[in-house]
């Protein structure tokens, strides 16, 4: 025996002594005094009867608390202010179903009379513990311990410390719940009585379990706990559920407790626990398929038996190893432990002496409900030790490469609770599921069988939105015309073309042509005719132009051309004939203007005079007579003087511009040389003129 094992054994003994000396697990039975209970004549008699009857049941123990509770509640309706009654109701609820109600009644008892019992705070702590109110449970436990006399405190401390540690472990586990769905197997499998110990056939088609429901009308109750004797039942799988639940019948089920605790790897043999046999032994019954009956159960190999209790057994699928639970004190580390035996030879019954799995697995507290996976690598078991959060919790350990076991891992909350969780069996065909026994919501009463569905990691639901991220399509396509296009400028250029010829011979002559916008008095185009006399010029608009043509040895030409009257739109043709400079040739200066009745030249005359000037400069030997003419309106004398003065004005202008006076003569002819009739105003306008005549070359 190792040092560690020795320490464990001593610790167990200490705990055992503590439990014997100070039965903290055994609730008190405070007396309800009649005179304290009395609260008025009406209803007292019936209520007191309920108290007395309730007390009878209460004394019998936990198995009768359900009956006691009903009676105490009747009494409570009569007088709710009796601390002892409140205490007992609290205890009844604590050991039946509603732990919250237990807290209510126990706290009421405390409030009414803190000294109602020595253990009131202990049970308040137990109730808080059960509902996962770990902080309040710890406080209650500590207060309970603090109020104990020193001698009792020493004895109770170990147990209270254990409970407080369970609270701390429970708090950690509850803060990190595992993702599982735990659901009861439903009506049929679960009843209003205790149902537990699920054992799955290897092919998953059958479920064996133990139930304390009445198997028949003659079913008897175990006087120890007032519950019907255990019997073994079987259910068939149908889809995800179980149906066709029925007892396996004789010879497996007897008048006494018969519980299923395991199944052979082939599925043909059921391991059964019978309490009356050898202090509590495991038996084996074979299933005969043809007759669908079991053989009479017989004790398993003696290696797995002792005069103590063996309560659970499991084999690997190759039948080379067996794990079982025993409370043999000579080999246990404390209470029930898990043992293992291997066969000397596969397929034989020659088993080696079982060995305790050791302190990694076993604790000074009870281990129970062992299960080894078919491959022999993973061990599941329940334990009141390790980091249980209260009662039995389910643990898992894996076999390491060196054959040792890993530190057991609590399967976590909500699989485990402060209540007892036992007989864990994974679903071999679908590892996402497992089965076990527990007392929890979703059951039908007492212990029940549940299925655990292991969910994966936490998953986040995905929201969906479909608003378009981009908006450009809403305004697409855009307008093509974002602004009005500009007008095109129209080229109104006109083309004027034609021939300049000698007036006498008709031959073309080279000359310089100038087009003057009559309105603007501005030269807008000039051109030079070629030797054939052809010319071309571009004019800006279809309007009136003055045309001046100069050629050497020819009199200069002055004429108005009105393109507006022409139907053409682009091209205009105008031919001009020039007269050679000959003595006697006359040229009428049409654009010489004077102030009315005077010989003062108007500025608009200067253009014409410039032409004359140029003509004389271009022809330096030319001598001209400048003559003034009038119409016949007014006196001859006045007209004569006027015509002379006007001629002289022109000469003076030319002389002032540099022409030698000797080249010029001025004469006034009044109305003596008309060129048109004086009878019309047009004729008279033509007659009012200035001329020049070539008088020498």
């Amino acid at each position: 025996m190792t040092v560690r094992t020795d320490i464990m054994r001593k610790l167990f003994l200490l705990i055992l002594i503590a439990c014997l000396v100070y039965p903290a697990h055994a609730q008190s039975d405070p007396k309800i005094k009649r005179n304290k209970f009395f609260a008025g004549k009406e209803g007292f008699r019936e209520a007191w009867k309920c108290v007395k009857k309730g007390n009878e049941f209460y004394k019998k123990g936990k198995g009768y608390f359900q009956d006691a509770r009903q009676l105490y509640l009747e009494a409570y309706n009569y007088n709710p202010l009796v601390p002892e009654l409140n205490y007992k109701l609290g205890i009844c609820y604590l050991y039946t179903d509603d732990k919250f109600q237990a807290i209510e009644y126990l706290r009421s008892a405390w409030n009414l009379k803190p000294a109602v019992t020595k253990d009131i705070l202990f049970y308040v702590g137990r109730a808080y513990h059960q509902v996962l109110n770990f902080d309040s449970a710890v406080v209650s436990y500590q207060n309970y311990l603090a109020r104990l006399p020193n001698k009792e405190k020493v004895v109770a401390k170990a147990m209270i410390d254990k409970l407080i540690q369970e609270c701390y472990d429970g708090k950690k586990l509850a803060a990190n719940p595992v993702r599982v769905i735990i659901s009861g197997l439903g009506e049929g499998v679960n009843s209003e009585y205790d149902d537990y110990g699920p054992v799955l056939a290897p092919n998953d088609s059958l479920l064996y379990f133990t139930s304390r429901r009445p198997g028949s009308k003659k079913a008897e109750r175990n006087p120890y706990d007032n519950k019907y004797y255990e019997d073994i039942y079987v259910a068939k799988r149908e889809g995800t559920g179980w149906t066709d639940v029925k007892p396996v019948g004789k010879p497996v089920n007897t008048r006494h407790n018969d519980a299923v605790v395991g199944i052979t790897p082939s599925g043909d043999g059921l391991f059964i626990y019978r309490g009356i046999t050898g202090g509590g032994d495991i038996l084996l019954a074979w299933h005969r398929r043809k007759k669908d009956k079991f053989t009479t159960p017989f004790q398993v190999n003696e290696k797995f038996l002792s005069r103590y209790r063996e309560t659970s057994i499991c084999m690997t699928s190759d039948s080379t190893a067996v794990y079982f639970v025993s409370d043999n004190p000579s080999q246990s580390m404390g209470g029930k432990d898990i043992f293992m035996s291997t066969t000397r030879k596969k397929g034989t019954e020659r088993w080696k002496k079982p060995v305790n799995l050791g302190p990694v697995i076993n604790t000074p507290y009870d281990e129970e409900g062992v299960y080894i996976t078919p491959d022999g690598k993973t061990l599941y078991f329940s334990s009141k030790g390790h980091n249980t959060m209260g009662g039995y919790d389910i643990f898992r350990s894996v076999k390491l490469d060196d054959g040792s076991w890993s530190a057991p891992e609590n399967l976590g909350y909500p699989i485990n609770t402060p209540d007892d969780e036992l007989f864990y069996r994974p679903d071999i065909l679908n590892p996402k599921y497992a089965y076990y026994s527990a007392v929890r919501e979703g059951g039908r009463g007492g212990k029940d069988i549940f299925r655990i569905a292991f969910l994966g990691e936490e998953k986040e639901l995905v929201l969906v939105s479909d608003t378009a991220l981009f908006a450009w399509r809403q305004a697409f396509p855009p307008k093509a015309f974002t602004k009005i296009p500009e007008f095109l400028g129209i080229d109104s250029t006109l083309v004027i073309t034609g021939k300049i010829t000698d007036a006498a011979t008709g031959k073309g002559i080279m000359a310089r042509i100038e087009f003057i916008d009559a309105g603007a008095s501005k030269t807008v185009a000039t051109a030079v005719s070629d030797t054939t006399g052809d010319y071309r010029a571009s004019l800006p608009a279809k309007t009136k132009y003055g045309v001046e043509i100069m050629a050497k040895d020819y009199l200069f030409f002055l004429e108005m051309v009105n393109l507006a009257e022409d139907t053409s739109d682009v091209l205009f043709v105008r031919n001009f004939a020039l007269n050679k400079v000959e003595v006697g040739t006359k040229v009428v200066l049409r654009n010489i203007f004077f102030e009315t009745g005077k010989a003062t030249l108007k500025p608009e005359s200067y253009a014409e005079l410039s032409n004359v000037l140029k003509f004389m400069e271009d022809n330096p030997t030319i001598r001209l007579e400048i003559s003034g003419h009038t119409d016949n309106v007014g006196s001859r004398r006045v007209n004569q003087k006027l015509s002379e003065d006007r001629a002289r004005a022109v000469v003076d202008y030319l002389v002032a511009k540099g022409i030698d006076r000797s080249r010029l003569e001025s004469k006034g002819y009044a109305d003596t040389q008309p060129v048109s009739t004086n009878a019309t105003s047009e004729g008279r306008a033509l007659n009012r003129r200035v001329e020049f005549k070539v008088i020498g070359k």
């Binding site: 769905i181 659901s183 995800t240 679908n430 996402k432 599921y433 299925r451 569905a453 969910l455 994966g456 990691e457 998953k459 639901l461 995905v462 929201l463 969906v464 939105s465 479909d466 608003t467 378009a468 991220l469 981009f470 908006a471 450009w472 809403q474 305004a475 697409f476 396509p477 855009p478 307008k479 093509a480 015309f481 974002t482 009005i484 296009p485 500009e486 007008f487 095109l488 400028g489 129209i490 080229d491 109104s492 250029t493 083309v495 739109d569 682009v570 091209l571």
Partner: protein, 352 residues
Amino acid sequence: MNRLLGCILVLFLFSAGELMSQTVSADPVAKLRNQRNYAQAYNQAIEAIKAGDYSRAAVFLDKALEFSANAPEALLQRAKIFFTYQDYDASLQDLETLLKNKPETGEAWYLEGLLWMIHDSVPRALQCMNEAIRRSYTTDEAFFYRGVLKTLQGDYSGAIYDYTMAIDKNPNHAIAFHERASVRLMVKDLQGALYDYRMAVGLDSMFLTAYNNMGQLKMILGDYQGAVEDFSRVVRLDPANHQAFNNRGQAYYLMGEYPKAVEDFYAAVVIDSAYAAAWNNLGNAYAKMEKYEEATTYYTKALQIDSGFAVAYLNRGFVNELLGKLENACADWNMAFSLGRKEAEKYIKECK
């Protein structure tokens, strides 16, 4: 001898042709006359465009082009008229003719770019927009649409640059702000995106898409209340905007206000009973309230509307798992995976 005559004939014909062509092409009067007629017809077309009478304008432009075939201004305006009347092929034809002769016409490149966008030919459209801008057609719209094209091509930084240019040209370009915001969102510049969305709605208070997107961005930034306000605005302006209800429902959902989320998701499906997204989200809200059976009915409804709705399969799988229906959950995840939700793969592994 015959050969000599033949040569002479050829020479004569060639010369005549040359002379004729010279005469025709060199006839300035004819040229001038054509130019004037063209300009007159063109200006009449512009008058018609001004008056909004595009069909009349088209007649004048046709006439103008008779006087001056391939005249760029006329081709451009006619291309615009074709564009307006959605005769995109004709528009494209005119533009291609124009650009063959006058490739420096930036506006023509821009218009052609739009046409390629209409034809969903993004690379070609982008090419045209690049040409337009290179040819100095640097309007806000040219930059804007080039930005759009760059976005479609995944060139987000380029797109941001162009949207910025568009905004520079036209600071009131609400859509440019919006598009820039959305691109900024894609490159994870969340604050920049928020700024731009704010500008967009500041310029256009009826810009519902901007409010919706801004609200969604606020949800990412954790400003759920701000998001609710934005979506509420959309709902006020457009009570039939099922997307806004769906969005606001999501904001409430993220705030943990599941009953309000349910109300909004429900409103969305009342407006549009085929709105699969909202049915899915309704399922989520019920799941959060641990009403798993109801949740699955809504996911199923979403899937009835859209059998390829991978997310609904995924979510229904999650809820089936919470109901302990692991086989159903695995079947749903397998569907989700086959429909493209790759994350379902790790959940399917849990099934094994």
